[in-house]
């Protein structure tokens, strides 16, 4: 089954991973801007990173028949530095018209601080000003519930936002209901220990249905499994769910959400198309 991974940090993965993804049926990845493992010092560091996302990764992906899309922001961990964040936010428009740039993300909260909230709000303003979809990171572990509620408060405060163009990612059992009930898209992250498993994601699909729901691996430089979405496909099939439901979650829903961006020029595979 063809699938799309809507949240995968390929800058931190080796090229072999693209080959593995292609063999597992991945036809496209969406890569949000994230924390590199250290706090970057200058806006030029981010400019170079955005060049990597918009120039290097699409070429690496294309060598294996995978289409690469990306999102831009300064992530929540580095948002504690408000002055640097403002420089990055001012620079982002340089890249918004580049092919494959889907919107602003992954913005959010990390430890739910005042500075993080200020930078989150300024990213929202950027997205609204430039008519961009938004991809949101919710915090990890004990910070997730509090941070998700704070994020939803800030989103709901702004009536200019179109909720069908906002994805709230890394939802789990105690946050998914709030996100879906308010009309946002929800992403389940299949990441060992600190987030969700394929079984629990399948449980949530059974409980809430497939509408506005996606699953991703969020593979990054930590212990993670970039082929986690196929694990979910396997779990859903094992439980006897039909192909239409599975395809909706792992392929059609990402296409529907990403189509909110005028830079989403996805080309589905078709009979007779030559691929690597």
């Amino acid at each position: 089954m063809d699938y799309i991974d809507p949240h995968l940090h390929m800058v931190s993965r080796i090229t072999d991973d693209y080959e593995t993804l292609a063999r597992m049926g991945c036809v496209a990845v969406s890569e949000p801007a994230f924390w590199a493992g250290f706090d970057r010092g200058t806006v030029d560091g981010f400019r170079d990173y955005f060049r990597q996302l918009t120039e290097v990764e699409p070429k690496r992906a294309a060598a294996f028949g995978i289409q690469h899309f990306c999102w831009l922001c300064i992530n929540a961990k580095e948002a504690e530095n408000v002055s640097l964040s403002r420089e990055v936010i001012a620079m982002i428009p340089e890249f918004l018209d580049r092919p494959g740039v889907l919107g602003i993300g992954e913005i959010g909260l990390n430890k739910n601080t005042r500075n993080e909230a200020i930078v989150f709000l300024e990213h929202l303003e950027l997205a609204i000003t430039y008519d961009q979809p938004i991809l949101i990171h919710t915090p990890h572990l004990e910070d997730k519930y509090q941070g998700t509620r704070m994020i939803l408060d800030m989103l709901q405060d702004d009536s200019r936002l179109d909720r069908s163009r906002v994805l709230v990612d890394h939802v789990e059992e105690h946050t998914i209901g709030e996100v879906l009930d308010r009309g946002f898209w929800a992403g389940m992250t299949l990441y060992p220990i600190t987030k969700c498993t394929p079984s629990r994601a399948a449980d949530m699909i059974e409980k809430y249905g497939p509408e506005r729901l996606m699953a991703n691996s969020a593979g990054d430089w930590g212990p993670s499994k970039p082929t986690a979405v196929p694990d979910l496909i396997f779990e859903l099939r094992r439980r006897g769910h039909d192909e239409a439901l599975i395809r909706r979650v792992v392929y059609e829903n990402p296409i529907e959400f990403f189509s909110n961006s005028h830079n989403f020029n996805f080309r589905p595979r078709s009979l007779g198309q030559v691929t690597v």
Partner: protein, 83 residues
């Protein structure tokens, strides 16, 4: 929809393994304490989590465990931040 029997057929050994892992870890904690009392909030949280796991209320144990391990949400947070 699957049956309880089928789910247990598929998952019993995994559950068993995870429970033994938890038990062995708590044994390890006790050995490290060498008889002294353990005054660690995380141990109390684990005890409460186990009570939730074996509760026979509504099928929302996973959600209740998530809430147990979460920082509380304060609806007045914006006032505290001056936002």
């Amino acid at each position: 929809m699957s049956s309880p029997e089928k789910i247990f057929d598929e998952t019993f050994l995994t559950i068993r393994s995870k429970l033994i892992d938890v038990a062995a870890t708590l044994d390890r904690v006790d050995r490290a304490a060498a008889g002294a009392s353990i005054d660690d909030l995380r141990r109390a949280r684990i005890d409460e989590a186990l009570r939730i796991v074996i509760s026979s209320d509504t099928p929302d144990r996973a959600t209740r465990l998530q809430q147990l391990f979460s920082r509380p949400y304060d609806s007045q947070w914006r006032r505290g931040f001056g936002l």
